[in-house]
Symmetry: C2
Subunit: 82 residues, 2 copies
């Protein structure tokens, strides 16, 4: 298991409620991929969402997000944190 | 006070120890700006560091990082998190 940050673009004007719905959509299906989305942070002015997760691979992260309706291409594998 | 994610580029090959040193350099001076850097995550393969912080403004975040020796231009103000 590794830890990841992924970055979504184009989320300008998204509300806190929509963020919560999108996050719930991930939580609802993540188990099948062995992924867990821990946190997500929204900047609706610049349209970014950052997700922190654990999982077996970048591809597993991407599959969950894609199936939940908000695909990403930008996923970073984290080797250290402070 | 608001919450921020900022993104550093060009950190390819950085070690966990170097990340900890860079984070400590922020902690040592952040108080003067009313900023607190909570967490930082490193992807040394793609050279990214993501920092989560609180503070009074983007500019305050940028000043602390610049004075600590690792300036950023990419700072996102977070209005929601899950």
């Amino acid at each position: 298991m590794a830890r990841y940050v992924d970055v979504h673009h184009g989320f300008e004007g998204v509300t806190a409620e929509q963020l919560a719905e999108a996050h719930q959509a991930d939580l609802d299906i993540e188990g099948a991929e062995g992924v867990h989305f821990e946190s997500a942070w929204l900047d609706p002015e610049l349209g970014k969402v950052f997700c922190l997760s654990t999982g077996p691979s970048k591809e597993a992260i991407m599959r969950v997000h894609e199936k939940a309706g908000h695909p990403v291409t930008e996923v970073y594998e984290l080797t250290a944190e402070v």
